[in-house]
């Protein structure tokens, strides 16, 4: 140490230290920026993964076959087809026959079965709809696009290697050969996946849709909004305008802040113990889901509404009171209208949060497998995030794609709600 001090002058030492200090400065700044870049690249990775996995789910492989709507095979009286007979006819057999006709060379029984399995086991539903809508097609031969089985679909989309025995592939060599043949004939195409947006859940990936979950989410959020908007605004009005400053009010405030940080799964336990076991509400119903979500988003809305009301200048209150308005008139005629954009922004953000909430809904039984579209908030239903959870649990490769698509739909709704909130804030924000 002493030698060093003799060898270099203080000025030189300071200069070299300065260099080191500037290097440290650059390093520190670099650390900061790389933390941000890293965090954002995680976000990008997440979104890219979802997009790359899910985009293909919006199309669905279909196979075109010439189907002879033979009255005898269908089991319908050709002269006077009754509506009953039309809806309960044997469409599966007609589809099988059409597939056999497309490949007349196939004869062995196992191979015929494999051939028929290339079309979705739910393909008959579309055919039935077609014939019920137009009974005059009976006896004619129609060229129809049938939804393909999910294994065929995955192979067509390249998610599974087109080789028998490849990872995740359940297609046989024969089936792959027929698929090539169909493709060469131009009888295979990827068409828009309408099922995804029109039907409920299914065990078969190619027939599984999101509509039931969308409707379930809609019912749940409606209940949530109906309960927590009036309650939240009333609480905020009370705390901001009426409540005396005392221990009781402090207790309420501390309580609200703490509720905002309680893990959502605990609210699920509350819903299970109180709403289901104590009050005996139906399981899996959007009504209960909506109530639980309302309790979860209540603190958010109260806090946002109070902030919005605080921003209204006291002079406006004093002017109203000075002109003879009562306290309630002051609130309903002046404070609330002026703070409404802020309250609505907070409410939309609270709703967006409630839309993405999953864990508490699992507790109250919203994980059941439900095919039907719910008709009221009392029917069993799934919601979008729970549908994501259910599909993510399914082993079929095709469900990975659909889960990603469901996430995209969920994120789309969330983004729309958040953009609406930002728009509201930008458009109506007032500074006094």
């Amino acid at each position: 140490m002493v030698e060093n001090a003799i060898a270099v002058t203080p000025a030189q030492a300071a200069a070299s230290r300065l260099k080191q200090r500037y290097a440290a400065e650059t390093r520190f700044k670099f650390l900061g920026i790389s933390a941000i870049v890293l965090s954002l690249s995680f976000l990008a990775l997440l979104l890219v993964t979802i997009l790359s996995n899910g985009l293909t789910a919006f199309v669905q492989t279909s196979i075109r076959v010439d189907i002879t709507l033979d009255a005898e095979t269908l089991g319908i009286d050709p002269v006077k087809p009754s509506a009953d007979a039309l809806s309960s006819a044997n469409y599966g057999q007609v589809i099988k026959n059409a597939m056999y006709k497309a490949f007349p060379a196939v004869e062995s029984r196992p191979e015929l079965r494999q051939l028929a399995a290339m079309v979705s086991s739910g393909a008959d539903v579309g055919l039935r709809k077609m014939l019920v809508a137009n009974p005059s097609l009976l006896g004619t031969t129609q060229s129809v696009w049938l939804v393909a089985d999910d294994d065929v679909d995955m192979a067509m989309k390249g998610h599974i290697t087109r080789k028998a025995g490849a990872e995740g592939s359940r297609l046989t060599d024969a089936q792959l050969g027929w698929l090539d043949e169909l493709e060469a004939r131009g009888n295979v195409a990827k068409r828009f996946n309408t099922a995804l947006f029109t039907v409920g859940d299914s065990r078969e990936p190619e027939q599984a849709g999101l509509w039931g979950a969308v409707v379930g989410s809609f019912f749940s959020l409606s209940i949530t909004l109906l309960v927590c908007f009036p309650l939240g605004v009333a609480t905020a009005v009370y705390l901001e305008e009426y409540a005396p400053k005392n221990r009781w009010t402090d207790l309420i405030e501390v309580n609200i802040n703490n509720l905002a940080a309680v893990p959502s799964v605990v609210f699920g336990l509350l819903g299970l113990a109180i709403f289901l076991n104590f009050f005996g509400f139906p399981r899996s119903a959007p009504l209960v889901g909506g109530l639980v979500l309302a309790l979860i988003s209540l603190p958010t809305i109260i806090i946002a509404a109070r902030a919005a009301m605080k921003a209204v200048p006291p002079s406006i209150r004093e002017a109203a009171l000075g002109l003879g308005a009562s306290k309630l008139q002051m609130v309903t005629d002046h404070v609330l209208p002026l703070s409404m954009p802020g309250i609505l922004t907070g409410t939309i953000l609270g709703m967006a949060h409630a839309l993405g909430e999953t864990a508490p809904l699992l507790m109250i039984g919203m994980v059941a497998f439900i095919v039907d579209i719910p008709a009221s908030p009392l029917d069993p239903a799934a919601v979008l995030p729970v549908q994501v959870y259910l599909w993510a649990d399914s082993p079929e490769r095709a469900f990975v794609e659909r889960t990603s698509a469901a996430i995209m739909v969920l994120l789309f709704f969330l983004a729309t709600m958040n953009l609406a909130a930002i728009f509201l804030r930008k458009k109506f924000e007032r500074r006094w």
Binding site: R21, A24, E25, F28, G32, I33, A35, I36, L38, S39, L40, F42, L43, L46, T49, I50, L231, A234, T235, Y238, L239, A243, I252, N255, I256, N258, L259, A261, V262, P263, S264, V265, V266, F267, G268, L269, L270, A273, I274, N277, L295, L298, P299, S326, L328, G356, E357, T358, A359, L362, M363, V367, P385, V386, Y389, A392, T403, I407, L410, L411
Partner: protein
């Protein structure tokens, strides 16, 4: 059949009646003042609201009272009308019978025995009779109250004061909901946990190291005795949250420092919302991402260097959870760092410190309490986070500190124990409530401490 639709109809009728009452009251007030509102104490509309409130509220109370009493009355009447030999059944069996009666009556299930079918018919007819009598009673109350309020209207009546007093009561009651929710959470957790601790001792639960909650249907089955030692769960939760914090604290803190000290306002206005998107993405999406992408990636990486990594490793779940809570750390830290007075920074610059030296030796120490608060809040998020661990962490309760192995957490177990068919008397489901109680207590304590630290710090510079 009476159902929600009939109830809704009744409500709508009441609402219409109240609207009618509003018009009656307003018109009567105007008539009393012979068309000159200035002679009235309150505006005519207040007289209208006064009548409408009188019309609606008592009737509503009748309906709510009935809704509370209905299940008990139905239960009592239906059960006492059962044949004597059925009534002597043990209590659990009776509850099952009643459950079936309700399912037959309400959801149209097929009754297993004729007795149940008859009971269900009684249930339905009793329910219908009760509903109609309540509907008539509530409407009668509404009309009577309407007439009463209507007669009381005169020019000097203080309608405004009375209506506002009622509204104030409603506002106060609304603010009670938050308190009631907390009470509800505490009571439901405590009540079910106490039942759990009647079968399993508190000591075994908190300090036992074996967790295998499988209780069989019959007590003589193999493996029917579950073990409820929650230590592996606590350890697993700590391990995963620890990994998450190890990811989120450095990344969040460094991002916050860069954004509040270095970044140009424009950069900040773009990056800050983008970072907050991370907190807005539903946790089920992170869970899917962890299970689909991150966990296999880590397993393959491990295989490359010759490590055996479980496919549901704690590392994958912790890593993804860490990404999720970055914004919780960064946003709050950003706020507290920005709140450090400029004079402190200028003092440091004046002494010749570089920017990074100022940050490290002046700004961070000054903002430390707030940063600690934000880290504690983030930790409480991590401990209470459910979907990521449900989808990406394991179910087996391993007591290990190795992040490459699968561990399970408190929240995962709560979900696993409660999803699916439940019997409300088995220790298995009650254990979930005991775990919930622990979770609630710990997160509450973390939040209280964190908020306390943050608030104390804020006062210092105000």
């Amino acid at each position: 059949m009476t159902g929600p639709m009939q109830l809704l109809t009744l409500m709508v009728v009441l609402l219409l009646l109240a609207t009618f009452g509003y018009r009656l009251g307003r018109n009567r007030a105007l008539a009393a003042a012979s068309g000159n509102p200035r002679l009235l104490h309150s505006l005519p509309s207040y007289h209208g609201y006064y009548v409408a409130l009188w019309c609606g509220l008592p009737a509503l109370l009748v309906i709510v009272g009935w809704l509370m009493l209905e299940p008990a009355i139905l239960h009592g009447t239906v059960m006492t009308s059962l044949p004597a030999e059925m009534q002597s059944l043990p209590e659990e069996r009776l509850a099952l019978v009643y459950n079936e009666v309700r399912n037959v009556a309400r959801h149209g299930h097929v009754p297993s025995t004729a007795v149940v079918g008859e009971a269900a018919q009684r249930y339905v007819s009793l329910r219908t009779t009760m509903f109609f009598s309540v509907a008539v009673a509530s409407l009668a109350v509404a009309v009577a109250a309407l007439a009463f309020a209507h007669r009381r209207i005169h020019t000097n009546m203080r309608a405004r004061n009375r209506v506002e007093a009622t509204v104030k009561v409603f506002l106060m009651a609304s603010s009670m909901v938050a308190i009631l929710t907390t009470i509800g959470i505490v009571l439901s957790l405590l009540f079910e946990s106490l039942r759990f601790f009647q079968t399993v001792s508190l000591f075994d639960f908190l300090f036992g190291t074996q967790w295998s909650p499988q209780i069989a249907m019959r007590s003589d089955q193999v493996g029917s005795s579950g073990a409820f030692g929650a230590v592996p769960l606590f350890a697993g939760t700590l391990l995963i949250s620890g990994i998450a914090m190890a990811v989120a604290v450095p990344l969040g803190l460094l991002s916050a420092i860069y954004m509040s000290e270095y970044a140009a306002p424009k950069f900040r206005s773009v990056v800050k919302p983008l970072l907050e998107v991370l907190a807005g993405i539903p946790t089920v999406v992170y869970g899917f991402f962890a299970a689909l992408t991150v966990a296999p990636f880590i397993r393959d990486m491990g295989a490359h260097v010759g490590l055996s990594v479980a496919s549901e490793s704690a590392l994958a779940a912790g890593l993804v959870m860490g990404i999720m809570i970055i914004p919780f750390v960064s946003s709050l830290s950003d706020d507290v760092i920005s709140a450090v007075p400029q004079s402190l920074r200028e003092g440091a610059y004046g002494l010749g410190a570089t920017k990074s030296e100022t940050i490290r030796q002046v700004v961070i120490p000054a903002a430390l309490p707030g940063i600690v608060g934000s880290v504690l809040l983030a930790a409480s998020r991590a401990i209470g986070e459910t979907m990521i661990v449900v989808m990406a962490a394991g179910l087996a309760a391993n007591l290990t500190a190795n992040p490459l192995e699968a561990v399970t957490t408190v929240t995962t177990q709560i979900v696993t124990l409660l999803v699916g068919d439940q019997e409300f008397d088995s220790p298995k489901t009650l254990a979930a409530f005991a775990l919930g109680l622990v979770l609630f207590t710990v997160t509450l304590a973390l939040n209280v401490v964190a908020l306390h630290i943050v608030n104390k710090y804020r006062e210092k510079y105000d």
